[in-house]
Symmetry: C2
Subunit: 254 residues, 2 copies
Amino acid sequence: MNNSRLLPSSGQPPTSCARVDCDACDVRALTFCGDLGHDAMSAVASIVSRIEVPAHALLAEEGEQSPYVYNVTAGTAKLYKSLPDGRTQVLGFLLPGDFLGLGDDRLGGLAAESLTRVSVCRFRRRDFENLQERIPVLGRRLLSLAQDEIARSREQMLLLGRKSARERLASFLLGLYDRLEARGEANDPLPLPMTRTDIGDYLGLTIETVSRTLAAFKRDGIISLDGVHAVRLLDPERMRSLATGDEADRMAAC
Amino acid sequence: MNNSRLLPSSGQPPTSCARVDCDACDVRALTFCGDLGHDAMSAVASIVSRIEVPAHALLAEEGEQSPYVYNVTAGTAKLYKSLPDGRTQVLGFLLPGDFLGLGDDRLGGLAAESLTRVSVCRFRRRDFENLQERIPVLGRRLLSLAQDEIARSREQMLLLGRKSARERLASFLLGLYDRLEARGEANDPLPLPMTRTDIGDYLGLTIETVSRTLAAFKRDGIISLDGVHAVRLLDPERMRSLATGDEADRMAAC
DNA sequence: CGATGCCTTGAGAGGAGTCAAGCACGGTGG
DNA sequence: CCACCGTGCTTGACTCCTCTCAAGGCATCG
């Protein structure tokens, strides 16, 4: 991580995204306002700026409250939180369409770092909040997004509290697979832009356990590795039952 | 758990909470509309009914979408989620003021069970959603509550992914202590209405580890037990550093 | 080609899980 | 009033999954 700071003012002058230009923005930028209608969209477009972020840049730091809110339009980033002694927990990976910084004026803000080159739409927090008041439907959309996030967090708590290493890895791979599928992005050779360390920190495991477990999946013929940063799920359904512990590891032990 | 079903229609006829009566409801019922103003409050009051729930009753079941939304006004309940083989993760304990069921028309709904006698304000989900549209400030309040929940979930993910058993227990006790403090409820002999199993399922530990760790805390003079369902934190600050791993267990090992 | 960073693999240790008694409390019924 | 359960909590002995420590492989990059 070169940790080139990105915030609050990037080296690159933000490319303004003019109102009429809105459709020129990557369409995914607007999934969160999707069918909100033309007025809402142009209002959103009027306060947004587009920014390109290099890989391994800090988008937000722990304990800091950023004056901006971001919506990722391309690339991948990680959200994380650490203990004083350095142990860290990755809270999630941001994919195109995801927001960053929405409610993070909360207890102990978190850090975010780009894993790849990332494109974001940036809003000044104040502007964005004003907009919510003027466009009620936008507020409702955000509430719905927040509830999705809560549902995902709960799933992850179940994983972290109760699943074995195999189940965690299987859940992780499938979750990524499904999220990319839902966004219409390529997932057949499943891209893994994050490092083994990131995966371990996301799943509450060590890097060695991640590596060993992936090796075991490969031995068992459940996945094949395309280099280090791409996996092929050879049997998604099998993987799905591994993830929930249904057909426990008995079969895998063979 | 006698699992007396509570939903969708309780045995007890819901006590209607008339508009003018709103102040008669337990004040905490209204913390979520707090300073929303008189109009909003009476609108809320007009669609609410008050219900008393016995201990160990199911308020919601996994995989079911309840037509109601609840706000707890007295007592404690647990929210949880299970794997097919029975392993369960407690996602949180609901205290007075907390909502139940807000976004739970989401992926794999969760179960909720009262731990003590509980009083709730019940809303029909549809009514509640209509209200949000009519009273924008209510929607904003809910968004803010959802963001609090997300922040708490993240803290819990860090706990589940990265903390030791001692740190988990310390975090749990302190978290409860602080939440009760914030609500102005008694927390000196800290009440623990949940069983050891519930605590274990919340912290991703077994019942034996919970028991042993509490015993160790007692030996170390960090807590004293008032029976099984009440604890006294003898040194909250010491506990606080235990919870984050600051002054690691080195001291405790002495 | 050495240096660096990331990943893999092995050997051994340890923290929490599992299995199994035993204890304490509260309820029930003779 | 007390013997008898049932349930939940504690404690001990042992196991095992994952972590820790350490070495080695394999790219990329100056």
